[in-house]
Symmetry: C4
Subunit: 218 residues, 4 copies
């Protein structure tokens, strides 16, 4: 990879970003694709129409879309983060591995949520676990971003102004209270968890003009 | 990646194409490979020959081949599209993510179709969903192509002539009415859906001489 | 990717090899890893020891190793083949896609073989299908190699001498009669199919000194 | 890939490291992600709370974390190893393939362990197999490292001092007695195997200051 640190003047204990990006991309790509395994094909049952069987699986379809977009947004943000780096060190590799550990578990919490959404007794807990898994993932993400931007500025390929630094950290941190809210909402009703997660997806996806673009791009 | 926009004069809110390609390749590669999960090994049953059991699964084998080639063609076209770009912006990333969301769902609609093809009551709906999923994927693909070619010409590494632009859009758009036809055919009989999808595969695969090559290559 | 044909004088309808390699690598990597799904965890059954349950699954373990090494060898050969190229054209992309279609099906034929190896009635057919799937894959591989080396010499980054060309084609073609033998052996007894496949793996793996190395490396 | 050996003076039978890295990354990324398949969603059962059902699956969650981190560490070490190389030869490719064969089997041995941890009769054997699979993987890893560092010094991009060589080999070799201990511990009680594996993970993860960093980075 062109960005490997063979020709740089960094201390020997750093790594180029090329293979970290490639490995992270691979893991996130597999995790996001495994979400399809929760789109189950209903067993053909005599006397029950396919339309009815598919209709009963609507939580699976909705959860697939929400989780796919949420993981996709994480990938876009991960991409932006790595783009700023010249190299990573051991702490960054370890935190990145923890982040991937969280992301890989998301297809599981998604399947748990969609299986129990219409189950009277388990729905609350499943919703809390679902939003909670995204919450933990966001916290690890912010920790990694904080490590790179605040504690390891020498790993950046270009220095950041204080304004840029704050904007980067804020944008990542916004997900933390949102997912906390979604998790708490699950204690009331799991459908509120769904609604908060959908709202968060829309917030990240709808372009907000130059202000948004400049926060995301740098 | 060589094509990352480190040395270009693009506005800061764009991204290099290298990691977008790598992530898209990863997702499409996993999705196309997960099709194998629909090639189920029949349970050994006393008194039933393996040849008979495998014979009953022919819709699975046929659907595997059709979907593999269809997703493969999408990858080739995605490849051609990214090759023309110098960078992507947030809208392109978002549309690309929606495209991947559709592609990842295709192993599910394929499994649905092959499970219900010989089921009297569900076959029509399964065929419509199968062709419909490819239809939606094609529409998102054309939308992404239109965004890049018509609305964001400054992201292209080389300007296109109007003839080239029309040729690119037409070639992608051809799949839309074809899959619409395949979906409507499913209302009559699911086997007609199969036939249309096979025909579409052959259309894309058989080289049509220089006229075809120049449309595909540029 | 460094080898993309942005700076070459090839006709416009060719593609750089970078993304074809990346996509093929991705598909082969997923296919080879999905072999693990055939290593099934036996259900805990009261009164049956785990050692006994695992012992009954030995065909799964053996088939896993054989298929892993066989797909691994294909990847090494694919790697050698792409290394010689400067670019690919539409025919090469299509043949490569067919090759991937065959490779992705191998975890299925492997699972079929390991499930039926100790089944009296289905074992012969399963063995023929297993060896047959590798046979078809080898034939497509040789066809792709022949296309690139004989029919599209202008895609090579360096011209080959007739001796090199023959050596490359021979080395790939050797797998065809071997897998044909393995498939025919399955008509007698599936264990002979296993033996031939193991022998073929050893043939490719044991280094044969400089003669072998120069055939493989160029 | 920038590190491909097109412009080097190596013998013709070597390969660039770019695609070996990409393929290994792909395989390890898929294997690590497949661990999520062992995080099973419990069937909703009337009268049994979801909290209770999830609680019973704690071995699955613990095994997921341990195996994820262990495979992640292997990836980091693989990364460090490949970084030192200018090229690989056939023996290195073959050993690397054997290493991947072991790594891909780890999700299976992980699932086996978590399924049988609380099973009276099978737990000892499952623990031995679990630690044994990591033991074999470590042995192959050390063998590959020894091949590259001791037997093929001409493949390194920069010569190593004897001190560096010893430090690299020692650091990899430390896992061998540790996993041997974990496997033997399984004969006493599977929970001791768990404890040793957790301890090993912590040893690798907690940064030990400059001494550690220099051993890991070079």
């Amino acid at each position: 990879m062109g960005s490997d640190n063979q020709r740089t003047r960094l201390p020997a204990q750093t790594y180029g970003t090329g293979r970290v990006e490639a490995f992270s991309d691979g893991v996130i790509a597999v995790a996001i694709t495994l979400l399809v395994l929760d789109l189950r094909v209903p067993e053909p049952i005599a006397g029950v129409s396919l339309a009815h069987s598919l209709g009963e699986l609507w939580p699976n379809y909705l959860a697939y879309v929400i989780s796919f977009l949420a993981i996709g947004i994480m990938w876009i943000n991960h991409h932006s983060m790595m783009k700023r780096l010249m190299a990573v060190d051991h702490s960054a590799l370890v935190l990145n591995l923890l982040l991937l550990l969280c992301i890989v578990a998301l297809p599981f919490t998604t399947a748990l949520f969609s299986t129990y959404l219409n189950d009277r007794s388990g729905a609350h807990l499943a919703a809390v676990i679902y939003a909670g898994s995204f919450l933990v993932t966001s916290v690890v993400f912010v920790a990694l971003q904080w490590l790179l931007v605040v504690r390891r500025p020498y790993l950046l390929s270009e220095p950041l102004t204080p304004v840029q630094r704050r904007s980067i950290l804020l944008r990542g941190a916004v997900a933390v209270p949102a997912y906390l809210l979604a998790a708490l909402a699950g204690l009331l009703t799991p459908y509120l968890t769904l609604a908060v997660c959908i709202g968060l997806g829309i917030f990240y996806f709808v372009p907000l003009g130059p202000r948004f673009a400049s926060a995301a791009g740098r």
